[in-house]
């Protein structure tokens, strides 16, 4: 082994926090997230010989984590109610009771997490990687193995759907008054 080759530990361990948060959002369960991260690190170590030094270790690890999630975890979890992917809510107009979305800041974590968790996996993962973890779109595309354009269109729809769901929570909890009177 060359002396200059980075060790697995030096490349992978700095991303444990990111991997744990992504796992938590994918599984929505702390114990499952821990197992998923542990599986990911073992699998990554075994695949370390195929990692190209200088390439993006975080995207590489997220890819492995996601593949582990899809093959082992996805089928065994969640019974969230499906969201309507066709009905993409509009942005509020100037007449909206809360046009600048001040209600977002007042929502509790559980409400935001419930809305996030109700998204289909392929929509949730782009939001988690892009908007929660702050990965650039190119890195999201690399981690998920999908074209950049697909990342952008998915994130656009996912955000609108989430915004619509969070608005409903805000209306139900009285943070904003409903835009339409209930019959």
């Amino acid at each position: 082994m060359s002396a200059s080759a980075p060790s697995f530990e030096s490349e992978a361990l700095p991303h444990l926090d990111t991997l744990y948060r992504v796992a938590l959002r994918l599984t929505n369960n702390a114990a499952a997230a821990e197992d998923l991260v542990q599986d990911t690190m073992l699998r990554a170590l075994r695949a370390w010989g195929g990692f190209r030094p200088g390439s993006n270790a975080r995207a590489w690890l997220v890819t492995i984590l996601r593949n582990q999630f899809i093959s082992g975890w996805r089928s065994s979890k969640r019974g969230a109610q499906p969201v309507d992917l066709e009905a993409v809510p509009e942005l509020p107009d100037m007449d909206d009771p809360d046009p600048e979305g001040r209600f977002f800041a007042d929502l509790v974590d559980d409400e935001v997490l419930a809305a996030l968790d109700a998204l289909p996996d392929e929509f949730r993962e782009v939001v988690v990687l892009s908007d929660l973890e702050g990965l650039p779109y190119a890195e999201v595309a690399e981690a998920l193995g999908i074209p950049l354009g697909t990342v952008k269109s998915r994130i656009f729809r996912a955000r609108r759907i989430l915004q619509g769901q969070l608005r409903r929570y805000a209306e139900e909890s009285g943070l904003i008054r409903p835009t339409e009177p209930t019959p």
Binding site: L13, D17, Y20, V37, L45, L91, P99, A105, L113, G134
Partner: protein, 83 residues
């Protein structure tokens, strides 16, 4: 008004990149100029920013538990290495 001002369609198309801080400097200036003039786009910008701030808050503060870190360090130490 500058002659290279952008309209609402162009501004909204670039809003995402603007909020992510990924616009080149000259485009940022044009975008900021538009947002200063257009109340509607400014309102949408603030709405999108409020939404993103809330999502970002979910991601912050959660770290890999120390017990998991230790478990992984032990597992990695036990794993046979090639090379």
């Amino acid at each position: 008004m500058t002659h290279d001002a952008i309209n609402c369609t162009a501004a909204l198309a670039e809003l995402d990149a603007f909020l992510r801080g990924e616009l080149p400097a000259d485009s940022v200036e044009r975008m900021q100029g538009h947002l200063d003039r257009c109340r509607h786009c400014a309102q949408i910008g603030r709405y999108e920013q409020a939404f993103r701030d809330r999502l970002q808050r979910l991601g912050s503060g959660t770290e890999c538990p120390p017990s998991l870190r230790e478990r992984i360090a032990t597992l990695l130490g036990d794993e046979p290495r090639s090379g």
